[in-house]
Amino acid sequence: MAILVDRDTRLVVQGLTGSEGRFHGLRNREHGTQVVAGVTPGKGGQDVEGIPIFDTVAKAVSDAGANTAMVFVPAPFAADAMYEAVDAGVGTIICITEGVPVHEMLRIHAYVHARGVTLIGPNCPGALSPGQANVGIIPAEIFREGSVGLVSRSGTLTYQIGHELTQLGLGNSTIVGIGGDPVVGSSFVDLLSLFEADSQTEQVVMVGEIGGDEEEKAAAFIEAEMSKPVVAYIAGFTAPPGKTMGHAGAIISGSAGTAQAKKDALEARGIRVGTTPTETAELVAALIRA
């Protein structure tokens, strides 16, 4: 089963003719993803290694049957690209682009939710269901198919934890990076709820970091709504307040959003929090052996 992306995914890449979009779009196809279209206004009729380019997302949907969009356009154009994908009737949008302004995201968040569209990102590595489909920039080589759902606000930290799981002989149903920005399309709670409903997923790892209160909301959700065990990791215990730690959303504001507060909220509800990425992977392995 897996979540978000699978064998039925028919992907349109917005920005496929750019160097990054092309590189990752083709990698996604190599992994087995059905990359059915690219969109670049003015380049309709061309192709990228056999993938047809259309001028609009609407055309990619009507002519190539796209049902999922990956946004790979520069930040000033990303909001427009997301609105266009929603309007074209795409059900899932994954926005890789970093640097989308917060005010844009406030409007887009309200817009997609009102229309029942799933948005992942922006500023995220995408989603990978090993052996089925890869949409984004996650290095598929280091993951294998299995039962662990993995959801994270970070890229490389997720790869690190996934890699440690692989070395312990464990695999993943789906790996999702929800993005490092203060406002992203889907929250931890949204993804946990998808994993809870997914038949392939048996355990979930949630990788959080400083800033905001999505981990705290997730803790309450896990306690109230989830039957599957969740193990967490939080980055940024030693981050100073008021400083943006790489991700636009990784910032402690006043006394809110600390790693300790998140860890406390999770542990208060019986959710195990690993001290290091290695320990986090070991906690999952112990869960499975138990």
Binding site: T156, F237, A239, M245, G246, A259
Partner: protein
């Protein structure tokens, strides 16, 4: 990006929010001239990007131009919680009858803008929120619907403003503050205090203004307001070189690829008993120039005794990263011990390249924990 009071007030003025007339001064002489031009009693206010200026003695009244010059002389050069005062704002003094508080901020949890208004202004708003939450009127704005005047009316009536002339002025200011918030793509616009003068005029006496860094590309006039001198010097250098760097206060220089992994690295260095000197994110790749730029910033910090690279190779393979690090080290001389931990795609090949390289100060480790321990040991030598 945080703006100074005088910059925030300039933006308020542009959006039609009443502020007192004032001048910027960088010397006692300029402060004197400013006071002469303004006439009458003035306030001399330190311009620093940190709270608590008043308590620190950074805000003073002056009755005459000579007095203003003297007060400015005292305030300029003062250290307020680690920030040196380089500018003062000289403003015509106000006769204050009442002090209110008004702000609009990006409420991250609700994913909507949030207005807050109370007649108990002039003090710390978090204090009001905990001690008398009923006195604080809060109201979200739907980002798709935007602002409507009823928002302002509800805030004003809920907070208990009774004078009709005052109500009218505050309702107008609330609308203009929303325009400023959206027009400048701010994260926060705060007026504390919003004063009512003895003549019944409502005016913004202070400003706290934070603009979304990701939106600056379409607000060049605000981007220009960045005060480079106010930044930590190493962080300013990093910004110039486009290196993602946050200065910390230890002796182990930390570099990682990706924000999350780098934060985790800083944590692990602390957990094994070390003190990280910085957070430095190399981004996805490990190209030689990026490494050179990052190392130039890190080694300018004279507290640094050892350097710890924590790299996870994904699409950028570890052998490529190792070559990048070696090329970087050919371009610059670093005598400090360097610990490199490589994991992920082609990790063994990467570690072999580093081991074979001729560098007695270069150490390789296979795990994050071992790498952190080694770096902490070497920093202590």
């Amino acid at each position: 990006m945080d703006l100074h009071e005088f910059q925030g007030k300039e933006l308020f003025r542009r959006f039609g929010i009443p502020v007192s007339e004032g001048r910027l001064a960088t010397s006692a002489g300029e402060a004197r001239a400013a006071a002469e031009e303004l006439g009458g009693q003035v306030v001399v206010k330190a311009q620093v990007l940190v709270g608590g200026r008043g308590k620190a003695g950074g805000i003073k009244l002056a009755d005459t131009p000579a007095d203003a010059s003297e007060r400015a002389g005292e305030i300029l050069g003062m250290d307020i919680r680690g920030h040196t005062v380089r500018k003062v704002w000289v403003e015509r003094a106000s006769d204050i009858a009442r002090e209110y508080y008004l702000s609009i901020a990006f409420d991250r949890s609700a994913k909507q803008p949030l207005f807050m208004f109370t007649t108990q202004g002039g003090i710390d708003i978090e204090e009001v929120a905990t001690s008398s939450p009923d006195a604080l009127a809060r109201l979200h704005v739907d980002p798709l619907e935007g602002y409507h005047p009823w928002h302002a009316r509800r805030l004003v009536y809920q907070a208990g403003v009774e004078d009709p002339a005052e109500q009218k002025q505050i309702v107008a200011i609330i609308g203009k503050l929303y325009e400023a918030f959206v027009g400048c793509e701010a994260m926060l616009c705060e007026i504390n205090p919003l004063v009512v003068t003895t003549d019944g005029e409502v005016r913004a006496l202070d400003s706290k203004f934070t603009v979304d860094d990701n939106a600056l590309f379409r607000h060049p006039e605000i981007a220009e307001m960045r005060d480079v001198d106010a930044a930590e010097p190493l962080e300013a250098l990093a910004r110039e070189k486009d290196v993602t760097y946050v200065k910390l206060d230890g002796d182990v220089g930390v570099l990682g690829n990706g924000a999350g992994l780098t934060m985790a690295t800083v944590d692990v260095v602390t957990f094994v008993g070390g003190r990280p000197a910085d957070f430095c994110d190399l981004g996805g790749g490990g190209d030689a120039q990026g490494v050179v730029d990052a190392l130039e910033v890190i080694t300018k910090d004279h507290q640094v005794r050892a350097i710890f690279f924590n790299i996870f190779g994904g699409i950028t393979r570890c052998d490529e990263v190792a070559r990048g690090i070696l090329q970087a080290l050919e371009q610059m001389t670093i005598e400090l011990p360097i610990v490199v931990r490589l994991d992920g795609t082609n990790a063994e090949e990467g570690r072999r390249l580093l081991r074979d390289a001729d560098g007695s100060n270069l150490h390789t480790e296979a795990t994050m924990l071992d790498g952190a321990r080694r770096a902490v040991e070497l920093a202590a030598v």
